[in-house]
Amino acid sequence: MSRPTLAVWKFASCDGCQLTILDCEDELLEIAAALDIRMFLEAGPSELLDHYDISLVEGSITTAHDAERIVDVRNRSGLLVTIGACATAGGVQALRNTADVAEYCTTVYARPDWIETLATSTPIAEHVKVDHELRGCPVSKRELVDTITALLAGRRLPITSHSVCVECTAAGNHCLLVADGTACLGPVTHAGCGALCPGLQRGCFGCFGPSEAANLDALHAAWTAAGISDDALHRALRTFNVAAPEFRDAAARLTSSST
C-alpha cells in the first residue's frame, strides 16, 4: 500500500510550528514511515508535485505573492491543514492590521521602497478552503501527532475547542486568577496546550486563540475584580492571536472605552 504524500508549506511565520514537527523526536521515524514526505523545505524535501494527499500550512498571508501561492498550494492539496496562530489567525504580525503599515516600513527599514507588503496579515482560511486547523504558538506536538494519526486512520480529529480551564483543572492545577489574582486568559482560550503556563504558575497567554464560547466581557469583569488594569488586558489580547475576531473586538472595545 502506498503511503499518503505530505507537503509542509511556509508563509509569513517564524518556522516554530515546522520545528515542532521536527521536534517529534520519538515519533519522527514513525511519521516518516507512515507518510511520504515530498515537500518540507525546513527538513530538506523539495519535490513539487501536482498533488499531495495532505498539506500542512504554516504562516499567514502578508504579500500579494503569497495570496497567489496559497491558491496554488490549495489546488495541489487533498486535505489542507493549517498549523499555528499565524495560519489560523494571522499571527503576531497581524498587529499591523490596526496600524499604518507604510509608517511601520519607514520606521523599520532603511529602504522602505524595497518592501512590497499587504496592509494586513490574514489567516489562510480567509483565502482558501481549510479542512482542519491546529491552533497554538507553536502548535502542540501531541495534537500534531494525534491529528496525523487520526487523518491516516480516517477518524475524527481529537481536537477540543473548550477552554484551557478544562485541561488546567483536570491536571490538578488551582485557578491562578482566583487564588492569586494572576492575569490569566485561560477562561477564554482554546485548549490544546495542556495548560502549560498555568501548570508552571504563569497566567495563560492565550496563544491558542479564543475558545468555543469565549466571553471576553465576562473575562474583563473578572480581571477587573482581581485588580488587573484594562491596559494589561488590552496588551494580553494583542499578541499571537491579535486578529482572532473575539480577541480583536474585545481589544477594540477596551480602546474605545478608554478614549
Binding site: 494519526t149 486512520a153 475547542s161 483543572t169 488551582h174 485557578c175 482566583v178 465576562a218
Partner: protein, 376 residues
C-alpha cells in the same frame, strides 16, 4: 471518644493507616492552596492555616498557631482519587490478525482519606449512588471506592461560600466515616476522636490514646454549634426542585452574560461525574502488527459544546442553555434521576468561578426567595 495530641496523635494515626496497608491521602499546602495528595506522616498536614473564600476569590495565610484543621477545603476534592480526571480503561493490541486487550491493574491498596469534611463524605455518597448504580456500575470507580477508610473532620471555621446547612449537612458529619476528628482550641489544644465503624474503633484503640471526658464531649458540641450558627440557611434545600424557575425565566440570560463557560465549576464540583471516552491509536496502528490503541476516560463538562453533540450538532449551543442545564441538573433534576440532592453545599463552584458567580445567589433569584432561604 478519645483524645489525640494534635502533633503526635495525628502522626500515629497516619502511620497506623500506612502500616495497615492503606494509601493515605490528605491535605497539603502547595503553591498557596490546599490540595489532597499522598501523606506519609502527620507533619505533612497543614499547620496554622487560615483560608478566606468568597465568590471568585481564595486566599490562604499561615501563622504560628499549631492548628491542623483551621481551614476549609480548596478546589481539589476526593473525587480525583476515586474518579480520576484521566484514566486508562483499555489497551488493544493488534496480534496475529486478531486483537488482544488488556486492562490496567486494580489499585494495589485501598484508600484512606484523611480530613474529609461533612460535605465531602456526603459528596462521596452522591457519587456512589451514580457510579455504583446497580444498572450501570463503573467498575473502576467501584474498585477504587472499595474498603475506603475515611477519617472525617468537624468543620470548625466554615468559609463565606459554605452552605452545607441548606443542603442537608452540617459541620459535624453524622455518618460516612470510620473515625471523626474534632479539633478543639479552647483550653488545651487537642483532637477529639470518635469511631464511626468497628475498624475505626479498633484503629483508635491501637493508637493508644486517652479516653475523652465529659468536658471533651461538650467542647466537640460547642465547636459544631459555633460553626453551624456561622452558616445561616441560605436556600430551602429539599424544596428547591419544586421552587426553581422554569426554562424561560429571564434570569438565565442574565447569568449567562456573566458566565465564562470555562467549566471550572463542574471540574471542581465533588459530585459532577460526567466523563468522555476517547481512543488514541499509535501512529500507523492500522497497519503495523503489535501497534496499540489506548482508550482513556476523562472528566467532561456540560459547559463543553461537544457535551451535547447530537448528530454532529450541539443541542445546547448557547452559554445560557449550558448554565441552565448545569444548575437545573444539580439542584432540580438530580433528585428525580438519582433520589438524592446533587449538591452538597461545599461552595467550590462559587469560590473557583473566575467570574465570581455565586450559585446560591443565582438560585435564590430563580426560586424567587431572596438569599435568605424559606419559601417564596
Amino acid at each position: 471518644m478519645f483524645v489525640l495530641d494534635p502533633a503526635t496523635g495525628l502522626d500515629a494515626l497516619v502511620r497506623a493507616l500506612v502500616d495497615d496497608g492503606y494509601r493515605v491521602v490528605g491535605p497539603l499546602v502547595r503553591d498557596g492552596v490546599i490540595v489532597y495528595d499522598d501523606v506519609r506522616s502527620g507533619d505533612d498536614l497543614p499547620k496554622g492555616v487560615t483560608v478566606e473564600q468568597s465568590a471568585g476569590r481564595w486566599r490562604l495565610t499561615i501563622d504560628d498557631r499549631p492548628t491542623r484543621f483551621s481551614w476549609t477545603p480548596g478546589a481539589d476534592s476526593w473525587k480525583r482519587f476515586v474518579f480520576p480526571a484521566h484514566q486508562e480503561v483499555l489497551r488493544v493490541r493488534h496480534v496475529d490478525g486478531s486483537f488482544a486487550t488488556t486492562r490496567p491493574p486494580s489499585p494495589d491498596r485501598p484508600l484512606a482519606l484523611l480530613g474529609a469534611r461533612d460535605c465531602e463524605t456526603r459528596a462521596l455518597g452522591v457519587l456512589d449512588r451514580v457510579l455504583i448504580d446497580p444498572d450501570h456500575p463503573d467498575p473502576r470507580y467501584a474498585e477504587r471506592r472499595a474498603d475506603t477508610f475515611v477519617v472525617a473532620v468537624t468543620c470548625g471555621q466554615p468559609s463565606a461560600t459554605c452552605w452545607c446547612t441548606s443542603m442537608g449537612g452540617g459541620p459535624r458529619p453524622r455518618e460516612g466515616f470510620d473515625i471523626l476528628l474534632t479539633e478543639v482550641t479552647t483550653g488545651v489544644h487537642r483532637l477529639i476522636a470518635e469511631p464511626g465503624s468497628e475498624r475505626g474503633s479498633a484503629l483508635l484503640a491501637r493508637v493508644g490514646i486517652a479516653p475523652a471526658t465529659d468536658e471533651d464531649h461538650a467542647d466537640v458540641e460547642a465547636v459544631a454549634d459555633a460553626a453551624t450558627s456561622s452558616m445561616p440557611a441560605r436556600l430551602p434545600g429539599a424544596d428547591i426542585p419544586t421552587l426553581l424557575a422554569g426554562m424561560h425565566h429571564p434570569h438565565w440570560d442574565e447569568v449567562a452574560a456573566r458566565c465564562l463557560s470555562c467549566a471550572n465549576c463542574t471540574m471542581v464540583c465533588p459530585t459532577c461525574f460526567c466523563s468522555t471516552l476517547s481512543d488514541t491509536a499509535a501512529l500507523g496502528a492500522d497497519h503495523a502488527a503489535g501497534a496499540e490503541t489506548v482508550r482513556v476516560q476523562e472528566w467532561a463538562s456540560c459547559f463543553q459544546l461537544d457535551h451535547s453533540n447530537l448528530a454532529g450538532h450541539p443541542v445546547r449551543a448557547t452559554t445560557m442553555s449550558r448554565y441552565r442545564q448545569w444548575l437545573t441538573h444539580k439542584l432540580q433534576t438530580w433528585p428525580e434521576q438519582f433520589g438524592t440532592l446533587g449538591c452538597v453545599g461545599c461552595g467550590r463552584c462559587t469560590t473557583w468561578c473566575p467570574a465570581g458567580i455565586d450559585l446560591v445567589e443565582e438560585a435564590a433569584v430563580l426560586i424567587g426567595a431572596g438569599a435568605q432561604g424559606g419559601t417564596p
